[in-house]
């Protein structure tokens, strides 16, 4: 990665948003380079949507500064809107308009000309031509998502912001969606995508993890897993449920989770973890071997840590942002 400032598509520091006395986003810093696909992860209500809305000018930050596509995030939101495609979490096109009518509306808002050529090309590209006259409200989840993506990229934005784009979409549609995203990134489009899905996070070039409004991890998936310092062991054998109960609560054991026929045992202190597992290794019916820490293990740890922080502050965890 180069440090050429021209290459930074999103470069914001200290973004803060409060709703009432709740700080939904707390001094978030985010840097995204051109052509990157950056995953934006975090539990429900951690401030992902709020951060994305601040980046695309839908919300005014209470604090912080920075640029998006070289435009000031505080004062140049109209310029930003012209060059950003934002796909909302909830389907937000007109259900009583047909696909083509929705696209025509969007094309005219962006003053694309000629409108019909843009609409036809977009329909063609996303394989929506045969359904052009179908009302958007009658589309299934997967098709709605295609339509939303089509509408967001029609004006050829330089930055695509996707807010949980694949929620409620079947695996095949998800796969196709991600292929499309990678294709767009290959053409130079920068993508910031928020998600809950681990497999999607692994499809990103880099990830940012936000928890209760604070950015707590950043880097490639490998970086984030390594930086977490977690150690994982796999336990194989019969009656793993009972083993899990035995292990839970032992010093050094932070997570115990069954994965099919094995048990993931995760901890951040290798010595303590080994000590806890030593008695098991002696049992003939069980086998204990070092395993690979998954991104999910890391996230569970992040979430566990953050929840503790919030509990100490006595804050309300029901922030819906």
């Amino acid at each position: 990665m180069t440090d050429d400032p021209d290459e930074s598509v999103i470069d914001v520091t200290g973004l803060t948003k409060r709703f009432g006395n709740k700080t939904v986003v707390d001094h978030a810093t985010l840097k995204v380079k051109r052509g990157e696909i950056v995953g934006f992860l975090g539990p429900n209500g951690s401030g992902k949507t709020t951060t994305i809305r601040m980046i695309c000018g839908l919300l005014t930050p209470d604090e912080g500064s920075g640029t998006v596509l070289g435009f000031d995030v505080l004062t140049e939101s109209l310029e930003i809107k012209n060059e950003v495609g934002y796909m909302t979490q909830k389907f937000s096109f007109y259900e009583d308009l047909s696909i083509a009518e929705n696209l025509t509306f969007v094309a005219r808002l962006y003053r694309l000309s000629p409108v019909s050529r843009y609409v036809d090309e977009t329909l063609e590209r996303l394989g929506l031509s045969s359904r052009r006259n179908q009302l958007a409200g009658t589309l299934s989840g997967g098709w709605k998502q295609r339509l939303a993506l089509a509408a967001c990229i029609m004006h050829q934005p330089k930055l695509l912001l996707l807010d949980e784009p694949t929620a409620g979409v079947d695996p095949k549609a998800r796969r196709e969606f991600w292929d499309e995203i990678h294709e767009l990134a290959g053409e130079g489009l920068t993508v910031l995508v928020s998600t809950h899905y681990m497999d999607e996070a692994e499809r990103c070039h880099r990830i940012n993890y936000i928890s209760y409004g604070k950015m707590i991890a950043e880097g490639t998936v490998t970086d984030v897993v390594r930086d977490s310092g977690l150690v994982t062991y796999l336990v194989h054998g019969p009656r793993l449920e009972r083993v899990a109960t035995e292990l839970a609560g032992l010093p050094g054991v932070e997570q115990v989770a069954p994965f099919g026929n094995s048990l993931h045992v995760v901890g951040s202190d290798p010595k303590l973890l080994k000590r806890a597992l030593a008695p098991l290794a002696k049992r003939p019916e069980l086998s204990v071997e070092p395993g690979e820490t998954s991104l999910e293990d890391v996230f569970i740890k992040f979430m566990a840590d953050s929840t503790d922080n919030m509990a100490e502050n006595g804050a309300n965890n029901e922030i819906d942002a």
Binding site: R53, G57, T88, L109
Partner: protein, 380 residues
């Protein structure tokens, strides 16, 4: 058939508890449940009076003889008339009547005193603005007897001469603008305003709230559209719908009800256009306050209720107490009613209604300002 076996009081209780929780959460609806009866009670109970008193009147009189003064003070004593204008010519009185500044013009001829003393039958002329026949009827009905009594009394003080001069007072009443006292003439033009008020405000307020409710607003705001573009785009279609309504109501007024149309059509259309513009902007403003379409509808009705009662559409404006009239002055419908009735029934020209027109324009400006002030291109 009602299946008692399947009826569970526990389940009913669960439904009731849930409904009450939801009712309590929806503050606006809850406020409406309490607010609407209160507003109605106050309006109906205190503000509405079908027998208006203290109606403004103009006195056209050139003589200052005791008989004239006696009649004027007797008319004022009835509490129906309040002579706050004095005109020296009939034309001046006519203008005051047409613009709606006064409800009555009382003309006492200059030879009135002489005729009384001569024993001729003296005549006074009372012209009433009968556009609202109900409002004027009380004042007219007391007129003849009160004036005659006053004259008799005045003569009585003049001792001996009065006794042998029984010249009776001749009161001529002209019901102006609506001589037959047909109430449709008053109601139908007013209805245009009421219909426009209800549909324009409601449709506009719900159209924008629908965007917010369905989540399409977020998308719209993420795209490069300015508040002015969004506002005009949302408002202009309803102006067109308003135009259709105007054609229907005015057509019906002419063909079904035979309401006279004396004034300038283009002047009326100008007035309607300004009024409708004010209404759609009001609707737009409401939509910036309401979160759901339901709330938008409730706010529309909250505004509609006083409009229909305090604007002079349903009950005589002059019959209301001062505070109610003051509220009425802040409703566009009040001013529109004055404009349309003056133009259609009185044939008023621009000069006579320019003041009301400018007030309507002030509403347009105020609502547009409020709407743009409230409207955000962000979701903050």
């Amino acid at each position: 058939m009602f299946d008692f076996a399947r009826f569970s009081p526990t389940r009913l209780g669960a439904m009731l508890a849930k409904e009450f929780i939801q009712m309590r959460r929806d503050r606006l609806t809850f406020g409406m449940i309490l607010g609407i009866p209160l507003v109605q009670l106050v309006l109906f109970g205190y503000a509405i009076n079908n027998d208006p008193k203290h109606l403004p009147a103009v006195l056209v009189s050139t003589s200052a003889d005791p008989y004239s003064r006696a009649i004027v003070s007797a008319l004022e004593m009835t509490n129906y008339y309040r002579f706050d204008h004095v005109a020296s010519s009939a034309a001046e009185a006519e203008q005051l009547l047409a613009s709606g500044d006064v409800a009555f013009a009382v003309t006492i001829p200059s030879d009135f005193g002489t005729r009384v003393e001569r024993g001729d039958n003296p005549t006074i002329l009372i012209e009433a603005d009968a556009t609202d026949p109900a409002a004027a009827s009380g004042a007219i009905s007391t007129l003849g007897t009160v004036a005659s009594e006053a004259l008799k009394r005045e003569r009585g003080t003049d001792s001996l001469r009065a006794a042998n001069q029984p010249g009776a007072l001749n009161v001529v009443v002209h019901r102006r603008y609506n001589p037959e006292g047909i109430s449709q003439y008053n109601v139908v033009p007013g209805l245009l305003g009421v219909i426009l008020q209800l549909t324009m405000v409601m449709m506009t307020s719900m159209a924008l709230t629908r965007e917010a409710e369905r989540g399409t607003m977020e998308n719209l705001l993420a795209m490069p559209a300015s508040p002015m573009e969004i506002m005009l785009g949302k408002v202009l279609p309803y102006l067109a719908i308003g135009a259709v309504q105007v054609v229907v109501v005015l057509g019906a007024a002419k063909t079904l009800f035979g309401v006279p149309f004396l004034g300038s059509f283009s002047l009326l259309l100008t007035g309607i256009l300004i009024f409708v513009f004010a209404l759609v902007l009001l609707g737009y403003f409401i939509s910036t306050l309401a979160r759901t379409q339901m709330q938008a509808m409730q706010l529309t009705f909250f505004f509609f209720l006083p409009s229909i009662m305090l604007s002079g559409f349903m009950f005589p404006f002059r019959g209301m107490p001062g505070w109610a009239r003051a509220i009425g002055e802040f409703l566009p419908l009040t001013h529109f009613n004055r404009v349309i009735r003056a133009i259609m029934l009185k044939g008023a020209d621009y000069a006579a209604i320019s003041f009301e027109m400018w007030i309507l324009i002030a509403f347009v400006t105020a609502y547009a300002g409020l709407a743009l002030l409230r409207f955000r291109t962000t979701l903050d």
